[in-house]
């Protein structure tokens, strides 16, 4: 662990914290443009966060300490998640603490706390949302794990740094299994980030909302933390996708210059990715909630086939 890797780690966290709302704003802007609406400001998420932090907090009479701790825990989980996903550099001091499996566990931990907190007050919506969110979770988590496994079968490692380094710094090789993994990952991240075919981040319609109904009871700073955590999650997923499927440009932090170069590249990739996400959301229609298991089962099984293909196409003994 040297100074440079420490710097990269700090930069990683700060960048995630600061850029995450911007990414959300960017996606919202593109969505508005594509739907012929007047776009909100790019910085709207920051204004919203600021406003929410200022407001007076109202908590239900019967709310337990769990309810009040959950926003902080969920936020903490998301910060740690973005700290261990390689965004600028693969040489991160925190990375050995959690590999791909632990990362999925981290997302699960956040989800469980969010669901428990939603059930705490005991209103109709909270439990409904918790049930739906866990429904998405129990299919999306294994699918995400399978996507990560497809990548880790290539480099025979579950450590994210090693996977990304292996993908980014080898001679050009095409991995057919990653095509499957890529499609599966797209489906999973749409579901996990409450995006359109599965959930609509802008709706408050009882019959369809998932993520919004979980946090319906929350207000002021708690809500702000949840909103921030949601955008951090989107950021983390985007960075994970970029690191797995478009890893070029992520430095291994041997030289500070590369680190500097990685930043604009990352911003560029994120901008393109955000616009594509908005495009995808505009093109597709929200599906019924009972179709969601089908949607996620498709992702899960595609990722499994991806792993099968890795095993088929790599000759014996050469799996390295």
């Amino acid at each position: 662990m040297n100074g440079l890797s420490l710097l990269a780690q700090l930069l990683d966290i700060l960048l995630a914290l600061l850029l995450a709302p911007l990414l959300t704003g960017w996606v919202n802007q593109w969505r508005a443009w594509l739907q012929n609406k007047t776009a909100p400001s790019l910085f709207q998420p920051y204004y919203t966060l600021h406003k929410l932090f200022h407001k007076e907090l109202i908590v239900a009479h019967q709310a337990s300490p769990l309810y009040r701790a959950a926003p902080y825990i969920v936020f903490g989980c998301m910060v740690l998640a973005s700290a261990i996903i390689p965004t600028l550099s693969t040489d991160l001091p925190l990375a050995p603490a959690a590999d791909a499996i632990a990362l999925v566990g981290l997302f699960a931990l956040a989800r469980v706390f969010l669901s428990l907190a939603a059930m705490d007050v005991g209103t109709a919506f909270g439990t409904l949302g918790a049930r739906r969110d866990m429904l998405i979770g129990f299919l999306a988590e294994p699918a995400l794990l399978m996507v990560l496994f497809s990548a880790s079968l290539i480099s025979r490692a579950t450590s994210l740094s090693t996977i990304v380094e292996g993908l980014a710094h080898q001679t050009l090789v095409i991995h057919p299994s990653l095509a499957f993994a890529g499609v599966a990952f797209t489906l999973v991240s749409l579901a996990e980030n409450a995006r359109i075919p599965v959930d609509n981040p802008t709706t408050h319609l009882e019959l369809t909302m998932i993520h919004e109904s979980l946090i319906l009871e929350y207000s002021a700073r708690h809500l702000a933390l949840f909103e921030w955590a949601a955008s951090l999650k989107l950021f983390a997923y985007s960075c994970m996708g970029l690191a797995l499927f478009f890893p070029w440009g992520i430095a291994n932090a041997k030289t500070p210059l590369l680190l500097l170069l990685a930043l604009p590249l990352l911003v560029f990739k994120l901008a393109v990715g955000g616009a594509l996400l908005a495009l995808l959301e505009t093109f597709s229609a929200k599906m019924r909630i009972f179709r969601v298991p089908e949607f996620l089962a498709t992702a899960f099984l595609l990722a499994v086939i991806g792993m099968l293909i890795t095993l088929l196409l790599t000759p014996f003994g050469k799996a390295a």
């Binding site: 095409i174 499994v304 086939i305 099968l308 293909i309």
Partner: protein, 219 residues
């Protein structure tokens, strides 16, 4: 360089499999046709690349033939058919989709298992692809079995032929030109006959539900 091209063919094979899988899981006829067209494009690409690697010019012709037939002509015909028959709606499958896909995975495993010794004997550039081609054929078969309407069954049948064609090009560098032309013609004639057949079914039963055919048996 040739290693990279082999990987590219593998990638195309994987795409073909993915498209077959998507067809298996798809409810809408229109999307099925889109997927079929995409499969055709993948096939054209892979045939061209194999032709380039092995420098066999006849593969170029067969790629061209595929392009004309499977990317342009047949999809156009299918569009006309669904326009005339007005069957753009979703089609319910006989078993629910996750179960179908689970069975699909088992089929893929079976195909890979069966193709393992074959592809180890083969010396062509893309030896692993044989299993994938076999899997495509089995998946298309599965699609045919699980649909109740006639049109998806026809499309699945065509996609099965795609799988066979891919197996031929990737494993043995294509069939003799005469055979290929013959097959192409067969497919064309086949789809025309099926089209006529479909119209007749609809005239007879006012629907394309194949379960109506059960009424035809002897009591």
């Amino acid at each position: 360089m040739s290693a990279l091209i082999a990987q590219f063919i593998n990638l195309l094979a994987a795409l073909l499999l993915m498209l077959s899988f998507a067809m298996l899981a798809q409810r809408r006829i229109l999307t099925l046709i889109h997927l079929f067209t995409l499969q055709g494009i993948t096939l054209v690409l892979s045939t061209t690349v194999v032709g380039y690697v092995t420098s066999q010019p006849h593969l170029y012709y067969s790629a061209l033939l595929t392009l004309l037939l499977k990317v342009l002509l047949i999809p156009a015909l299918l569009y006309r058919v669904i326009d005339r028959l007005r069957v753009r709606r979703e089609v319910e499958t006989l078993i629910n989709i996750p179960t179908i896909m689970l069975l699909g995975i088992l089929l893929v495993m079976l195909a890979f298992y069966l193709a393992q010794p074959l592809s180890q004997m083969s010396s062509s550039v893309a030896r692993g692809t044989l299993g994938i081609a076999l899997a495509c054929v089995l998946l298309s078969f599965m699609t045919m079995i699980t649909r109740s309407k006639a049109l998806p069954q026809v499309i699945a049948f065509l996609s099965m032929e795609n799988g066979l064609f891919f197996a031929a090009t990737s494993a043995t560098y294509g069939m003799p030109m005469v055979v290929e032309l013959g097959i192409a013609l067969d497919v064309l004639v086949g789809i025309l006959i099926l089209g006529v057949f479909l119209f007749h079914i609809r005239e007879q039963f006012d629907s394309l539900d194949m379960s109506n055919l059960e009424q035809l048996r002897d009591e």
